[in-house]
Structures are given as C-alpha cells and as structure tokens.
C-alpha cells in the first residue's frame, strides 16, 4: 500500500473582505488603516491526514467545520497558507457535478466539454461516450440542449461523465442525492465498484447512513481541527455526540 493523499500541518485562513472596490481600499490605507477592512477566519488548523491507496474515507462534521475546504485543497482548487498537501496519481472531483456544464450546448457537447475539464483526453471520451450516455439514461435527448433537461436528467448526465473519468483518487462532495431512487442506487453501486477496483475515495456528506455504507474510515472535523480519525461507525457516533 502506498500513500494516495498526504496532508501535513495544513493551515488555511480566509479573509472575509467587506469591500471589492479599489477606492475603499485606498481610503482605508490613507486614513491610517483605521478599523478592520477584513476579518480573518481559521478554516483549517494544523490538519494532518494520511490516506492510503484504496481507502474509502468520509470527512464528517457540522456545517462550517472545514470539510469542503479540505476537499478543495486535495483537488488543488485551493492552496494552503502553510503546511503541505500532496497527492499521487490523477485526482478528480465529483464536486458539485455539472459545474462545467453550459446550458446552451447539447448534451453531447457538454459531455465532451465536461470530460475535458475533468481531465479526460479526446480519445478517452470517444471511447467512453456510449457508456456515459447509457449510464445517464438520457437516451435520445443527448443531442438536445441541456437547458431543456429536467434537473434530474442534468444531474444524471453530469454524474455519469464524472464517474467515467477514471482517476486514481475520487473526491465526492454531497452529490449522492442525485436523481430518483433507482438512479441513486445505481450511483452507489458504481461508487462501490470503483472502491472495489482499488480507487481511493474521499466523501463529504451529511447523510451519515449513506457514508457508513460506502466508507470504512471516518475523519471528524470541528472548527477546522481533526477531532476524530478512526472506524466509520465510531466516527459517526462521535459526530452524533457533538449535537
């Protein structure tokens, strides 16, 4: 087993800036920096985490505990203030599926665009295209503009692209509430398949029942600190005792 994700002494502070205008910033500077133009907020504090290849890990915590921020550091969307994050192999996020979708393009064009955004090559998308469409159950609507899709169709297609990207590490953020029940079951089955194939999974969800079915290990965050790291059932119990 080798390390897939290594997080060391990760610190992240957010600046809650109240202004976005140059004028106000200059006024603040020339008036002797009176008052607070910005407030700082510690989103992650000295977080250490090591995830082995093939592990299925749930990041748990109440709202604002820093789990999504941690996920964004692993995906590279955010960079740490101090400490380090390192990953092995390709990392792809099912973070808010459909972020790269465009309403004015057809389903087919969106599959290509979103696939490329998630790091697939043209040949890979060509090869997976039929499988993506089949999984999404979009069928004949694939050449219709996405703006005419129902929200369920939209999410199904987006999810389908994401699970076909075949990365080594999968980041999943609150997207399991996709589509109707049969489709949800299908997604879940697909995620379990991925984990059985030795993919590393990091899941953020408030659905504790669901994560305990997918994940073996749970990491509980509270105000940006890791307060528990262990078996998923203990982690869920720990989180429930917080409220």
């Amino acid at each position: 087993m080798s390390v897939a994700i290594e997080v060391q002494k990760l610190n992240k502070q957010f600046v809650l800036r109240h202004t976005r205008s140059l004028k106000e910033a200059i006024v603040w500077l020339v008036t002797g920096r009176k008052g607070d133009i910005s407030k700082k907020f510690h989103a992650l504090h000295d977080v250490d985490l090591e995830i082995q290849q093939g592990e299925t890990v749930a990041l748990l915590g109440l709202n604002g505990s820093g789990k999504s921020t941690l996920l964004k550091h692993i995906s590279g969307v955010m960079l740490p203030d101090s400490g380090s994050v390192r990953t092995r192999g390709r990392v792809a996020g099912l973070i808010e599926v459909g972020a790269g979708f465009h309403h004015d393009l057809s389903g087919r064009e969106n599959v290509y665009l979103n696939g490329a955004i998630l790091g697939m090559t043209e040949a890979q998308i060509d090869e997976q295209f039929d499988s993506i469409v089949e999984f999404s159950e979009i069928g004949e609507f694939i050449d219709t503009e996405v703006r005419f899709y129902s929200s369920g169709m939209y999410l199904r297609l987006a999810f389908s692209v994401a699970v076909h990207t075949d990365p080594e590490v999968f980041l999943v953020d609150e997207i399991l509430a996709v589509g109707d029940e049969p489709f949800q079951r299908k997604c879940l089955a697909r995620i379990k398949e991925l984990s059985a194939a030795g993919k590393t999974l990091v899941v953020v969800s408030h659905d504790l029942e669901l994560v305990s079915r997918i994940c073996d290990r749970g990491v509980v965050l509270k105000h940006g600190n890791v307060v528990f790291d262990g078996a998923i059932d203990d982690a869920v119990a720990q989180l429930r005792s917080q409220v």
Partner: protein, 297 residues
C-alpha cells in the same frame, strides 16, 4: 492489482493545484479547443442576425469614422485636399480591424476569470485557459474582418510583397501577445478588485487614439518632436497598426507616402520585445494571484 494502481504506485506524490502556467494551456489543447468552440457557439445565441453581427458592427463603425474623419475633417486625399491620405478608407479599415481584435480580446480576457468563477471555484484546471481562449475567440472573429479588408484592398489594386505580408503577421502577433499579457494581468486583478474591468475599458478607449488608426503618424511626429514621438512609437499597438498599414494600405497606393523610419529593422523587433515582456509580466502576476482565486471569487 490493476494496471492503474501499478501506475499510481510509481507516480510521485505531487502538490495539487500547482500548474505550469501557459505551458499547461499548450498541453490542454483539446480543452482549449472545446472552450473556444463553446464561446463561438453561444456568442450570438438567440440573436436574429447571428454571426452577421461580426460584420455589421465593424461595418457601421467604419462608415461613421470614414464620414466624420475622412470627409468632414478632411483626412481623405481628394482634388480639393491634396495633403490628405490616399485611399483613406483602406488606411482606416486596416487599423480598425486590428484595434477591434485587440479591444475584444483584452476586454473579454479581463472578464474571463470572474466570468468562469463558478468553474474555477470547484475544479482545478489551468486557469490561464480562460484568458487564452478569449484571445483565441477574438482571433476567430478577426478572420471575417480580415477577409473584408483583403477584398477591399484587392479592389484598390493591392499588390503586396512577401515582406509586407510577413510584416502583417508580425503586427498581428505583437498585438495578440500584448492582449494575452494584459488579459492575464487584468483578468487576475479583476478577481480582487472589480475596478480592473473599468480600467481596461478606459485603457481601450485611450488605445484607439494613441495609435495612428484614424490619423497619420506624421501628424504626431510634427506636434510631439523626435523624443516624445519615440515614446509614442514604442507602443506595440502603434507598431502593429503601422505594420498593417505597411502591408495592406501602402501597396494600394503609389507607395510614395512616408512610412515611419526603421519600421522593419527597429520597431517591429521592439514591438515583439515589449509585447513579450508584457506577456511575461502578465503570466508572473497571474501566478502570484491565482492561488487565492477560489476563495476570492
């Protein structure tokens, strides 16, 4: 053990989110192509005239300038006005197509990061893609205008030399690099201060008049004197526009009109160097600022 995990065991641990800048854009050509195609597809979505707007807008702009400046202000050479510019219409249009390209490229590139904020906040990808795609889209829109220009030139008896055509390419490259560099700079600054967009709008208004698009460079030289004129001439847009005049307008005249001295041996290389420096500066600033895009957007 699957081959995929075999591969990843040999793959090194890397820091996510640290890219190679513009070099990554080159590596992601397929994604760049798709982004450009998307922009081109949705640009005129829902408009009746569609792509025709790419001809109508510069056409009207040209007509207004031609009548106001060429006829009313007397820049056009005619029997009553022998000091004017011969073939002023071609002179004007060859400058307008280039400045239009620059205006569209820079103003879209400067807005591209904030405009694609939804994506940048959620998925890591080389963010330079967005300004570069904006410039690329503008280059595609530049093509129909260029065709109109070439047709107009042919009617006016255009017979360019190879050197003149090379100068046109050089002029375009100079302006494209400048637009990309400034686009990276203002696009990343725009994330922090939305004033950046307004600065760009103002800059573009100034840029239209600080290059010899509507008037002749000799007017500037006679008013400014040699040293200030040299400063005027360092502007890469000025050099690009003059290269276009040299390539498209000059061969339609009797070639007696004076061109800026040392355009080919001195100023075009200067333009390339200045634009390249702006591009490097833009990339540097972009990389300094991009680390916090996700949280600032």
């Amino acid at each position: 053990m699957t081959t995929a995990s075999d591969f990843s065991e040999t793959a090194p641990l890397v820091r996510p989110g640290v890219g190679g800048g513009l070099a990554d854009v080159f590596r992601q050509r397929f994604l760049l192509k798709l982004l450009v195609r998307k922009e081109l597809q949705i640009r005129y979505k829902g408009s009746v005239l569609g792509l025709l707007w790419s001809y109508v807008k510069p056409g009207v702009q040209f007509l207004v300038f031609y009548i106001a400046l060429g006829v009313f202000l007397g820049l056009e050479k005619s029997a009553r006005n022998p000091d004017g510019l011969a073939n002023y219409a071609v002179y004007l249009f060859s400058g307008i197509v280039l400045i239009n390209f620059f205006t569209e490229a820079l103003s879209n590139a400067a807005r591209s990061i904030v405009g694609n904020g939804g994506l940048i906040k959620k998925i890591y990808l080389p963010r330079e893609l967005f300004p570069v795609a904006s410039v690329w889209v503008s280059a595609v829109h530049f093509i129909p205008q260029l065709i109109v220009l070439v047709v107009a030139c042919l009617f006016a008896g255009w017979h360019p030399s190879l050197l003149q055509l090379v100068a046109a390419v050089a002029g375009f490259v100079i302006v494209a690099m400048l637009a990309t560099g400034l686009g990276l700079l203002f696009g990343s600054a725009n994330v922090y201060f939305r004033d950046s967009e307004n600065i760009v709008d103002m800059l573009l208004m100034v840029a239209t008049w600080t290059s010899p698009i509507m008037y002749s460079w000799t007017m500037v030289q006679s008013k400014l004197g040699a040293s200030w004129y040299a400063l005027y001439q360092v502007n890469p847009i000025t050099i690009g526009v003059e290269a276009f005049h040299y390539a498209f307008w000059l061969p339609t005249t009797d070639e007696t009109a004076p061109m800026p001295p040392n355009l080919l041996p001195l100023w075009i290389p200067v333009g390339i160097v200045v634009s390249l420096a702006v591009l490097v500066l833009g990339q540097w600033a972009f990389r300094r600022l991009e680390g916090r895009f996700a949280q600032e957007l």
